[in-house]
Symmetry: C3
Subunit: 345 residues, 3 copies
């Protein structure tokens, strides 16, 4: 890559180290001591970079790449230029990612935006809060009474941590986050501007004025969760809202009260989960999905972007459309509808 | 409920006090002096708790509940275990909510996240701002010139109140809110991270560069409004954007310039109201609804989740789909479309 | 307009000055020295105001307007009351906007919410940051190491500017914005609560736990861009996310990693652009549009509100529906579907 204002240049790795890390295969005679300086996609690579090719999409770029070495699937090997060090891989993107994680270890989770460790003088910490000595609190952050922040965790600038909130070890809480009524595990990344733990939207409708239902549950976020900017997670009404281990949530997702999300789900941007929804493990959401109240989405189901879910979804089902139905069925509906227009002409 | 880190345990009520508060009926011979300690749904209730059953959904939980007493509709009474104190109610959820509001009075609106009253030393208050002596300003908040904050109101940590903004009595302005060009009534709850009063999206399109139209209106928010996290309300262009009394708005709703919303509407999460839209009183929105510019949605209409409104909607109409049409008509369209696919096979 | 708490009353202009500014034509004998005090729509105008009529929608208001003068299309002139000074215009709204921009020059971009110039004492500026002497930093803002802020730029209250971020001249960065890993041009307006430059949503899915891909690109925002509240722009994975010159983006838009947007686009609220999407110049988005990953939307295309784009869109095409197709075709589909229901009865 070209030099970045924002990341330290990596110290690089040898071909031998890359082979050892990834299990990729170098051709006999490859100089394993050769040094690779950085990583880049094939079209942006400069001399000394490692790149990768996983699909045919980058074949043209491959032919003219300036990269020094390439993690590549067997079927594309013969398209590589002669001077490129070819590293045969059964999973080039995953192997490339392993190298990227090694070279850019500092980019794996957000760090202090002020370049500090410890508590910034301008942070406002309640005397009863317990901040681990190895935690960092950036300028302007506010930590309330009896809150707990674990070792290695970074609380971003101007973030607000409410009373009795517990945050585990090695977390990154982004700048400007507002977190109340929550217990957060270890290695959780919350990107800037999330609001977690506020009242759910609960009212008894009434013609004289809707009556607010007190929201007395909490939010529980398990280990290794990652949450994108501006996402909202309401606390439960009389239960807890729960985000399972390893689940990754994109930007501006709305998670209402009493939602329970399993482990290792992927939820893309601007999706909305209504009150009381259950999402089982390994479910994948495209962007802008909506799920109506109290429904269950079964284990491993995949919801296409923009799916509008108004019934329970069985485990493993690919689902799309609004109302959401099996994805192939939805596609056939669209074809039928188009035929109808043609016929009507 | 199990003990919470986040809420004071309630002091409880007697059966007699519950009967007096709700009008529910105890069986003859019930010990009205018996003390109920907390509230919970049937499946989570512990010894001493009050619970409620409004629908058949919780019948199984009812049969094995550990609760001490239950607000319950007449038709479910015989499913109650013998040792449960049965309180017959025509509206169990509403009655239960009345008890919840009494027991958890502190949860009815957000309070200081720093456990303070008055103005935190780290808050930055312009000398010309007028903050009532009985208002609270949390750490890191910023209040601009000539702003006014009424008695009993809480301004959350790091919230920013712009010049000349007026906020009434007993309001809660959430942490991290940015409010400018606005007049806000009494008992208004604005949850964290809302932005209210910024420029609307107004441009004269031009091939040489779109020309910004100055936005010189304001935002008017009437009494008893509640607004969810991350919601945006733009100020008017040359009129005011208005939110009517008692209207409740969920998270991440987008309200453009010149929108006028009536009283006692309910607007669910991620809905978007385009410029100049008029929403009459008592309209209900599901989640992710969109309304195109300048349209009117009539009194008491209900917009199903994901409705895409591109025409005026008559008063009282249940509406769904995109383009939005009467909800039952939309459902029939979906059935017809599915038949078409089956037929085509 | 009625007097505003939020804007200084304008000093007004003469009819002659308005004619000179806009090229509108006054009737022979019009008193060009007459003073117009303010601007307003026809129905809200008071004595002394300038108004405009561009379409038939405001004809009734025109007949009873109290305005002193009116920019108006030729075909509506005869509907104007006798005492109204008529200024014939071929583009009344654009001409009116020119006057509005002159009278309310202070409303063209957000200014300090604390009424200051220079750096507020409560702002936290890293010693290595370079803030131009003619820049303003509002209370509670945080500016990190090696960040650069140009002349005339305003950094809003509690905004956070990360390490090495570059912001040009005469920009407005709204209160509560969090900006990292970004280079921003001149005259850019970022409204409150935007998050720009955070990690994109990139994982290698894995049954043992999804593996985070380091995001080592940046965000590049060119001159004269405007961005609405709460919008998210993720930095690139190994490229840059780019927003082209003069593009205007509304509230709560989600722009994923590696998106490249051309010049002079208009993107309405709550739209979402998936990773790697390319938007060419002069594209217009309605609200709540979604574009699937890696697609291209051609120059000058217009995407109707709620369009769900799952294929490349040719230049200039009006597009709507989900899956998005030519807008007229989508409308015909809707008609055909409705006929089908009628037929089925």
């Amino acid at each position: 890559m070209s030099e970045s204002r924002f990341f330290e240049p990596p110290s690089g790795m040898t071909i031998g180290e890359i082979v050892a890390l990834t299990g990729a295969q170098a051709k006999p005679g490859t100089d394993l001591s050769r040094h690779v300086t950085d990583i880049a996609p094939p079209d942006r690579a400069e001399a000394g970079d490692l790149t990768f090719v996983e699909s045919g999409k980058f074949l043209d770029a491959l032919k003219s790449t300036r990269a020094a070495a390439c993690l590549i699937g067997e079927r594309f090997e013969f398209d590589a230029p002669d001077n490129l060090v070819v590293l045969r891989s059964r999973q080039p993107q995953a192997d490339f990612t392993a190298v990227a994680r090694k070279m850019y270890a500092n980019a794996l989770r957000p760090v202090s935006l002020f370049g500090i460790t410890g508590i910034a003088p301008s942070a406002v910490i309640h005397p009863s809060a317990r901040i681990d000595k190895a935690a960092t609190v950036d300028p302007g952050a506010v930590v309330g009474p009896n809150a707990e922040v674990g070792s290695g965790t970074v609380i971003g600038a101007t973030a607000v941590i409410g009373p009795a909130v517990r945050i585990g070890r090695d977390c990154s809480i982004g700048a400007g986050c507002i977190i109340t009524h929550s217990e957060i595990g270890d290695r959780v990344i919350v990107h800037p501007g999330c609001r977690i733990g506020q009242d759910g939207f609960g009212f008894v409708p009434d013609r004289k004025g809707h009556v607010k239902i007190p929201q007395i549950g909490a939010v529980i976020i398990h280990d290794d969760v990652e949450i994108g900017v501006g996402t909202a997670i309401d606390r439960g009404a009389m239960r807890d809202t729960v985000i399972g281990e390893g689940t990754k949530i994109d930007n501006m997702v709305h998670i209402a009260h009493n939602v329970v999300i399993g482990s290792h789900c992927l939820i893309a941007g601007q999706s909305g989960l209504s009150g009381g929804v259950t999402i089982e493990d390994f479910v994948m959401f495209g962007g802008q999905v909506g799920v109506a109240p109290q429904l269950t989405v079964g284990k491993g189901a995949r919801l296409a972007a923009r799916a509008g879910v108004i019934t329970d979804i069985p485990a493993g089902q690919d689902t799309g459309g609004h109302p959401a139905i099996p994805q192939r069925r939805w596609l056939r509906q669209q074809i039928a509808l188009e035929k109808l227009v043609t016929r009507d002409k």
